[in-house]
């Protein structure tokens, strides 16, 4: 049987459309020919991958159709649901149960929203426990119990919001306020910006105004420029610079003193959060000094320690393993302090290090800002080449963390050369530009690899006896890139991280989940 005869029959077999005569012909061939069987396995694998990956071809359709648990795996889903609670309490595992990686890869998220939570100061949200600085403001009604928040709408409008507030961003040019105090700065490009309240609408014609909306009344204060007030069922009114007006819920105008000072302004706001942030940075910096003395620390690079943007990156641990910065440019760190992080997006960027010694368990830890994952492999830390006993720590282009220690040389037919611990996808494009704490613990004693993001366990892999490596060696390595760009395909050769790192550490030994959570609490901006 020639290939041209055989392979179409294999496809028919897999598709379930083979005739009886052809089936027996193919079966006879497969019994004697290992090549025919190999072709069968390859085509079967291809079909399986096609089923899971073809959803990515047309992304606008895939988001509606793909779910993390297809119905056919409902039994497994049920099992996972029953035990999810037990798991979270036992191991702090969260998302790893709910995903089959290939399905998640197919469900590519689309960022939705009209505004970003640019900054906040002790803002407490109802039903939005994870809403944080840099996040898109979720659509639908929102409640802020207390605190201050600065929203940046995509139209350029800046809103400062004081809790307690209930509101909704309807579009880049419109918001509803049910309750609460807001101050709006409207640039020329966004004139016509509208705020809807229960008693009427405010339309901006100028630059800055403030509103205090309560169930009883809406107070308007024009700080600069002009607004139009469109009360329900009444003639519109103009208000300009220095004017104020109260409109009661029953539809009557009343006078109210012009008191812009009762609203937090941008300058006050900035001052408040900048000082808070500087305090947090200082606290982290104090803690970093202590951390450098941790006896388990193999190498520690809090990046502000570099020598004034010379190309040397100072090791703050006691090992003195200074790194050399190549091509990477300086960037703002996670507190916004410029020059205190390294940006690895310029081609060839890396920090070269050489780390001697042998270690049993190891912990890799960093704070990184990922701008995009456009490489097939996006490096966090890679040893040169990939020799025996060496770790590789990187991020796949679908957002999964990758960690491996090479166990043996790849010999065809003898199985894998290492165990790769993948996490579920932990990054998608909506997180572009956000700082994340990423850590991976390779624990030889427990034979596990555990991935952490922002202080929480996202997955744990068991490593069998066959693949565990009890002597980890590092040697020459790069932070943020890989040292051996290879021939041919740029997808494989380029691995620099499109993003920035402002703190990087390698510990000998395995840090506990609580230690990593504590580092997160102390280090979060």
């Amino acid at each position: 049987m020639t290939l041209n005869d055989r392979d179409p029959l294999i496809d028919d077999l897999i598709e379930g459309s083979i005739s009886e005569a052809d089936f027996f012909k193919l079966e006879a061939e497969m019994r004697v020919s290992s090549e025919a069987r190999q072709a069968y396995y390859s085509r079967l694998k291809l079909t399986d991958s096609l089923r899971s990956e073809s959803g990515l071809l047309f992304e606008e359709e895939s988001d509606q159709t793909v779910s993390a648990w297809p119905g056919k795996f409902s039994v497994l889903a049920g099992i996972a649901a029953v035990f999810a609670v037990a798991f979270i309490s036992a191991f702090g595992l969260k998302s790893s149960l709910e995903v089959r990686t290939s399905d998640i890869a197919a469900a590519e998220p689309i960022a939705t929203g009209y505004a970003v939570l640019a900054e906040h100061s002790e803002a407490v949200w109802v039903n939005q426990p994870n809403l944080n600085r840099g996040d898109l403001v979720p659509q639908g009604p929102l409640q802020m119990e207390s605190g201050l928040a600065r929203l940046e709408l995509f139209s350029g409008v800046t809103i400062i919001l004081e809790g307690k507030a209930e509101f909704e961003i309807n579009s880049p040019m419109e918001m509803s306020v049910l309750h609460g105090k807001i101050r709006a700065l409207v640039p020329t490009a966004a004139h016509g910006f509208r705020v809807l309240t229960t008693s009427g609408d405010v339309v901006d014609l100028g630059t800055e105004f403030a509103l205090n909306v309560t169930p009883e009344h809406a107070d308007m204060h024009v700080l600069d420029g002009e607004i139009e007030w469109h009360p329900k069922g009444e003639q519109k009114q103009h208000l300009s610079n220095g004017q104020s007006l109260r409109w009661t819920a029953t539809g009557n105008p009343e006078s109210v003193a012009f008191e812009p000072s009762q609203f937090t302004g941008l300058a006050d706001f900035e001052q408040r959060f900048v000082s808070q942030r500087l305090q947090r940075r200082q606290a982290w910096s104090d803690n970093a000094a202590v951390l450098g003395n941790d006896t388990r620390m193999i190498a520690y690079y809090p990046i502000h320690q570099s020598n004034e943007w010379g190309r040397q990156l100072l090791d703050s641990s006691q090992s003195g393993l200074n790194g050399t910065v190549v091509s990477a440019r300086n960037d703002a760190d996670r507190w916004g302090q410029s020059g205190s992080a390294l940006n690895f997006s310029p081609a060839g960027s890396r920090v070269r290090v050489s780390i001697p010694g042998e270690h049993r368990s190891v912990t890799f830890y960093c704070w990184a800002r990922i701008d995009s994952l456009d490489r097939m492999y996006n490096s966090l830390f890679l040893t040169d080449g990939h020799e025996l006993n060496e770790p590789h720590w990187q991020i796949m282009n679908d957002g999964r963390l990758f960690f491996s220690v090479k166990r043996r040389d790849a010999v065809p037919g003898s199985g894998k050369d290492k165990h790769i611990a993948y996490s579920p996808p932990m990054w998608d494009p909506s997180q572009s530009g956000k700082w994340l704490q990423i850590a991976t613990v390779y624990n030889v004693d427990e034979q596990t690899t555990t991935h952490f993001v922002n202080g929480e366990v996202i997955s744990q892999d068991r490593i069998t006896d066959e693949y565990i490596v009890d002597t980890v060696r590092i040697g020459a390595a790069s932070i943020g890139n890989w040292n051996e760009p290879t021939r041919g395909d740029p997808n494989f050769a380029l691995r620099n991280l499109n993003g920035a790192i402002d703190e990087f550490a390698i510990f000998s030994g395995s840090l506990s989940a609580s230690e990593i959570a504590e580092l997160y609490e102390k280090g979060r901006p």
Binding site: R31, R43, D48, F73, V75, A80, L97, S102, I420, D461
Partner: protein
């Protein structure tokens, strides 16, 4: 606590090996629309027998042996209208060889993602309908004004092209020593 740990480990292993398990079942009963049912039954049995599994031993081998048994059980039930089934000898070989074939499925998926992008738009559309939307070939042929035979040939050629591309990419990745 011990039981919880065991359960956690099993769910995690079961989740990790879901694709491989499904594919293993399919290799033993290609083209059979009940592959998913058998894979699901296998999940159930694995779960029921979870306490028999010794953590640290080869989960895949254990799960595959259960899957193989489930395939046979399904055959037995279907015996009356069983049509095209591999003979025992070939099934034995496939069961053995296939388990070695099911490593690094994720590498395969990633390589394929890139390869799909290199297809021309009409081929991508065909693949999308065939494997994602699961449009019957007949319906698609009518819509596109093509013959079923012609579409089958096109599909076969696209598969050949993708296979070459995936193999090349995986080989390159191996050379690059991940």
């Amino acid at each position: 606590m011990e039981e919880q740990k065991q359960n956690a480990a099993i769910v995690s292993l079961l989740t990790q090996n879901q694709s491989a398990l499904r594919l293993y079942v399919e290799s033993l009963m290609p083209g059979d629309p009940h592959c998913d049912d058998v894979a699901q039954d296998t999940n159930t049995i694995i779960w029921e027998k979870r306490n028999d599994f010794e953590i640290g031993t080869n989960f895949k081998a254990w799960a595959f042996s259960i899957a193989r048994f489930q395939v046979r059980k399904y055959r037995f039930k279907q015996a009356k209208d069983a049509r095209l089934v591999f003979c025992d000898e070939l099934e034995e070989i496939i069961a053995e060889e296939m388990s070695n074939h099911l490593q690094d499925l994720s590498e395969h998926h990633i390589a394929l993602q890139a390869c799909l992008k290199s297809l021309k738009p009409s081929d991508r559309d065909l693949i999308h309908h065939r494997y994602f939307k699961k449009t019957p070939l007949k319906e698609y042929a009518a819509k596109m004004g093509r013959s079923i035979g012609g579409l089958k040939v096109t599909l076969h050629r696209i598969r050949n092209r993708l296979l070459l591309c995936v193999e090349r990419r995986i080989a390159l990745a191996k050379e690059a020593q991940v």
